[in-house]
Amino acid sequence: MTPEEETEFKRRQKSRNLVVGGILLFLAVLFYVITIARM
């Protein structure tokens, strides 16, 4: 892997990790409020 490819690889990995983290956080909040709404 060339240095340019490695930089691009890390950039994509970081942005994907941030999006996945955001989705997981959203789902945690969603499941919490669903539980409250169904009580």
């Binding site: 892997m1 490819e5 690889f9 994509r12 990995q13 994907r16 999006v19 969603l30 669903i34 709404a37």
Partner: protein
Amino acid sequence: MAPDPMTQTVPTQLPAEWRDFFALTKPRVMSLVIFTGLCGLLAAPGTINPILGFTAVLCIALGAGGAAALNQWWEADIDAGMKRTAARPLPAGRMNRTDARDFGVLIAAASVMIMGLALNWLAAAILAFSVFYYAVIYTVWLKPRTPQNIVIGGGAGAFPPLIGWVAVTGDITLMPVLLFLIIFMWTPPHFWALALFVKTDYANVGIPMMPVVRGETSTRRQIFAYAVLLVPVAAAPWFIGGTAYVYGVASLALSLAFLALSVPVAFRQTGTNDTMKPEKRLFAFSIIYLFALFAALVADRVMANQGWIA
């Protein structure tokens, strides 16, 4: 001399961007799915907690997105041969096919599970069937085999208002079935109008679209036939007493306009250097038609609930 394996560079497959996963869900198609699903939910009798309503629409959108990802996974080679779809993540080589398949299965399965646990299992079962219908019955089975693919495949896009309605009521009555039928009857003229001005693309990849297989004249007549059928079907919720006159008048006005725009499409032939204006106009109006019809349905329900109309 053989290259030194320690220093030789090999092509690297970079991980796909998150935007490419998002693109797999066909966001533009999803906007119509979200809107009709939301309208089905808002037009249904009864009340629903806003959080559960939001969850139901989210599940409908995720299910549609999963089905779209599976569709693109299966059709990557076909998409590569068409100008309209060649820039999608898979044919453009920006994503691994297995990733697209796994992503589709994951979000479709998650949407069904969340719908079942948060709303009800009848809505979840219909959602699961709609994903199967689009990804397997339409994409794998019918689309490459019959020029009627759009007619039967249109059923897949007709599920969202039905699911939205059932998410609220927990049972199926005639009204949500009529909402399903409206989109079912609307899909062929909507899609064939598009197919008339992009038919070269479909012909190149061997997809038996109606204009390619049966010819232009037959397609144009069938567009007109569906536009005629759409008038009573769209007004049926009013005829059976499921809505008040606000929806009834709006549905008749919109369907008659749709019919009027289908007339020049039905009774003409493509000429040399044809700009296909009537077809493009009908296609553009068909999108406005569906948004406006479902908006009228919700407006009618809101006005009735407020006691402004009988």
